[in-house]
Amino acid sequence: MSCCCDVDTSFNVNTPEGLLKDNDRGCTERIKRLRRISHSTQPHLDLERAKIETDVYHKYEGSVSTPVLRALVLKEYFSKKTLYLGEDELLVGEKGKDPQCSPTFPELCCHTLEDMRVMNDRKLVNFTVTEDDMKLQEEYIIPYWKDRAVREHLLKAMTQEWRDCYEVGMFTEFMEQRGPGHTAGGKQFYSKGYLDFKAEIEEAIKNLDYFNDPDAYDKEQELRAMSIDCDAVIILGQRYHDLALEKAAECTDPVRKAELEQIAANCAVVPAHKPETYWQALQMYWFTHLGVTLELNPWDAFTPGRLDQHLIPFYEKDTEAGILDDTRALELLECLWVKLFNSPAPVKVGVTLKESGTYVDFANINSGGVKEDGSDGVNAVSYLILDCMEDMRQNQPNSNVQISKKTPEKFLRRACEIARQGWGQPAFYNTDELIQELLLAGKSMVDARNSGCSGCVETGAWGTEAYWLTGYLNIPKCLQLALYDGYDVMFEKQIGPHTGKAEDFKSYDELWNAFKTQLEYIIDVKMRGNLVIEKIYAEMMPAPFLSICTDDCIKKGKDYNAGGARYNTSYIQGVGIGTISDCLSAIKFNVFDHQKFTMAELLRAMEDDFEGHNAIYNLVHNKTPKYGNDDDYADDIMKTVFDEYKDYITGRPNIRGGQYHVDMLPTTCHVYFGDVMIASPNGRKAHKPLSEGISPEKGADTNGPTAVIKSCSKMDHCATGGTLLNQKFTPAALAGDEGISNLAALIRSYFAMDGHHIQFNVVDAETLREAQRKPDEYKELIVRVAGYSDYFRNLDEKLQGEIIERTEQNFA
C-alpha cells in the first residue's frame, strides 16, 4: 500500500544569501551601526588595567590588607581608565579603551611574551597586541607578576599525582587562568544604589563585635574593601556623567545632544542611587557588570540573568508614564546586546584554550521561568527579549528561555520559532527541574525560584550563591586506565592505581570494580587539588565588589571567594557519559554475555585503532546495545556510571562551608579529552571526540529524538547542577506549524520527565561541510557548540568535523 510521506525541502535557512544579510541587523539604524562596529572591529589586547594594577601593588602591597589592596586596584582603574563614549551609544562603559578590547589580569595568569605573540598571530580569533604593550609587558608586568600570579602559586601547590593526571588529560582545572564563580546578577542593584550598599556596609562595620568575634578584624578589612569598591563604581558613573555633559555641550545635532544629556542624567542617578527608569536599570546593570568583570576575571561574564524579571517593573512604570514604548525598549535591549558583544572573554593559553576554544564569554540570559511567588514569569519584556535575540542573532549574550509547566504555549512556540531558524538560540531550560535541583541542594524555595542557568547549563541561585565549577573529569579515560592496570598507554606512564590486567577479569563485575577504583582515585586527586585551590583564592584573591551584590556577604562580613555567599557550592563536571556507557556495554555484551571475542582480542583491536579488526569493530560499533535508543541494556549502564560518579562526589565538603555536586556538561572539553585517548571499546577511534554532554555517542542513536530523550531522562537530573542535551535537526524536520508543535511537544515531554536542558541545531550537514570549505561565505553561520553558540568559522577543524558528524535526526 502507499504511504507517500511528505518530503519538504522548501524550508531552508542558512543559505549564503540569507547569511549575508546579517551585516544589517538591529531594530533601528542606530543599532545597525553599533552592531556593525562591534562585529567588524578586530579584537585587541589592552594593558591599561594591568599597568594601573601593577602601579597600585607597587604603592600599597604590604601596607594594606589584601581585600583593601584588591579594592584599591578597582578604584584606581575606574578613576583613571580611558573612557569610551561612542557615537550613537545609549548605554555607556567599556571594559577596556574601546569595543572589542580585552584587558589582562596578570594577578591571575601572567602572559609570557610568547603567549602574546601567539594570540597576535593565531589563525582563529586573534587579539592584536601593540609593540608598546609588548614592551610594557616585558619590562614592567612580567617582572612583577611572574612569580606572584595565582596560577604560579596554584601549580606549585599541586601534588605530583595531580600534575600527572592533569598532563594526561584526566581532568582540567577551571581556576588556573580565570577567577572562580559562575557569576550571575541577582536582583539587588535594581532596588538599591551603591550609596545604599555603602551605608549597609558602614552599618555592618559598626556592628562588628570585636570582643567576642575572633574574625572581627578580618571582617572589618573585607567590609572596608567593599566600601572602597562602592566608591570605585560611583566614580566611574560620575566620570561618565561629566563626559556625556562635555560631549553634549559640543554636540550640534539637537537629537543627539538630548540623548547625551539624558545619558548624563542617567549617570547622575546610577550607580550611586537605585535606578528610576528602564533605561537607568539597564545602565545600572552595565556598571555593575563592569565592576564584577574588571575586579577579577570570573567565569561567565556576570550575566544579567533573569533580565525580564528585573526590568518588568521599570517597563510597566515607564510605559504607563508614556516615556517608553516597545521600540525604544527593544532598542535599549539591543544596546545591551551590543555592549555584551563588545567584550570578548579575556585571552587564555595552553590547555585552557583547548578546553574552551572560543572567546565567547557566556553571559547567559534566562527569560520566562517563574516569579518568586511561584506564578508564571513570562511578561512583556520576555517577548521583547525574544524579539531582540532574533533581531541581533549573536552568540553573545547567550539568550535562552526557561520553560515551566505554567509557561504559556504562546511563549514556548515563539521560542521554538526562533530555535528553528537554526543558529542555536534559544536553548530551553526546565524551570520546574531547576527548582528541584536547588531544593535538593538545600536552597530556600524563594531563592530556588530566582534561579537560572548560567554558563552553558549550570544551575545557580542568582544573587545568593557562589557556585564554582572546578574542572571537567574524563570518565571514559578512567576505563582506559582500568583496562591497562592503571597505566596510560598513550602517555606511557602509570597514572592510576594497579587494578589488575583486564585479560584476567573473569566477569563484568571485576571489570566494573577496576573502573570504579580508577574513577574514585581520579576524583580524589582532583578534589584534593580543588580544596587547596579554593583556599588560595580565599586568601589571595578576594572579590569585594562581587561580594557587595551577592547576599549575604555584607551581613557575614565575608568575601564571595571565602564563603560569604548564602550558598557555596563546588562542582566537578563529568564528561563522556555516552562514550563510557557504550564502552562498558560493548564489553559486557560481547566479551562476557555472548563471548563473541575475548578481552585480549578487543585490547589488540583498540591498540591497532581497529585497523584490520573489522569483525570486532563491526560488533562493537554496529551490533551492540547503545545509550540513546531507549534500550535498558545500555541505559542501565549509563545510570550505574552516573550514580557512581554522583554518589562519590555529592555532599563532600568544600572549604567555603558548602558542598560538592556534579554537572554533566563538556563545553568543548569532550574534543580535548578524546584527543588524549586511544581507541575505545565502543569503536570510537583514537583522538576522536568523546560524546558531548549527556548526548549519545555520535552515530549511536538510531531510533530518533524521542528515544534519545527517553534515554537521557533515565538519569536523575535533579541530583545534578545541570546536564546538557544537544539535538540536531534538519530544517525539513521542523517545517511548518506542525514542526513547531512537534518541537514544543518534544520539549514539554522531556521536561515532564525532569530533563534539565535541551538545545537544537537546525542545519544540514551539507551546509556545514560547505561552510568548512568556504569559511568566508559563511561568516555569519552560528552553531550551538555545547551549551553556547559560536561562529562556525571560529571553531577549529576538529570541532567543526565533530559538529558535522553529530547524528542528524532526520525523519522526513
Binding site: S2, C4, D6, A615, A707, S749
Partner: protein
Amino acid sequence: MDPLIFNIQKFSTHDGDGVRTTIFFKGCPLRCRWCHNPESQSYQKEMVLYRHKCTACGACVAKCPHHANALVDGELIFDRSKCVACGICVDWCATEAREIAGKEYTVKELVKEAKKDQMFYEQSGGGVTLSGGEVMAMKNMDFVEDLCRQLHREGISVFIDTSGFAPYENFERLLPYVDVFLYDIKRIDREDHLEYIGVDNTMILENLIKLSEAGAGLYIRIPVVGGINAKPQCMMKMINFLKHNHINARQINLLPYHDIGKNKYAGLDRTYDEQGAMLIPENDEMESYKAMFEQHGFHNVKIGG
C-alpha cells in the same frame, strides 16, 4: 502465523496527528506500481542486500550455514533461493550491507515498545499508527484486534493506515478501538485500479461507505502520482464519489508521489517498474487539486501527511 513487523518508527510525524509511533506490518495484497516499501509486500521474511555497501570481504560466505553466498572473481554472489533469512550473516557483515526485513513480535512486546513514547503522545496529541503492508489483510486478525484493544486500554490513540482492501468484518471488529482510519483512495475507475494497483476496488469503496456510515474516524489519503492519477478528471471522480456517498472525512490529505523508495528494489533483487514513467507532481499542480477539493466544499484538505 503471527504477523511480521518490518519497522517500528518513532517520532513519526506524517502518519496522523501529533507525535506517533508507526508499526509497519509486513505483507500486502496490493501491488501499487509506485510502492516505495517493496519489503512490505511479501508476508515472508526477506534478506535485503545493499550491494553498494558490500565490499566483498567474504565474512558472510564463511558464516552462512546454507551456502547462499559465494565469492566469484572477487565479487559477491548471493543466491536468494538458498537463503532462509535466518540473519546469521547480518551480525557478521562489517559494512551493514545486510538486513532482514520482518521480525516476530508478541502483542505484549509491541505494546511495551509503543508505551515507551507515551509521554510524547500525551504532550502532542499523538499515538500509535499501524501501517504496512496492509494491516487489515493480515491472516491473523486476532493479533491485530488484540493489539488495538490493549493499546486502547493503555489510553493510547490508535490510527490505522489502510488501503481498504480487506473484508469489512476485519474493520468492524476493530471499530471500538481505532480512533482514525487513514484511508487510501487511489483511483475510482475499476479498470484503471486493476491495472495500476493490481486489484479490483469495489470492496475498497464499499468499505469506505460502510465505515463512514458507522461513524468511524476517517482521514482520506490520496497519493497523487503523475501518470497514474494526477489528472483533474481523476480528482473530480474522487470528489464526486466522496460527495455522492456523503463520506464524512475529518481530513483529506493529498500526498505527492516521490521516488525515494526506488533503490530499495535492488536490495530485494527486484526491478522497479518504470514503464509507466511515474512523475513527481509539481507544487502548483498539488495546489490546483487542493483548490478543486475546496471549491467543492471540502475545507479540510492538506498537502502532505
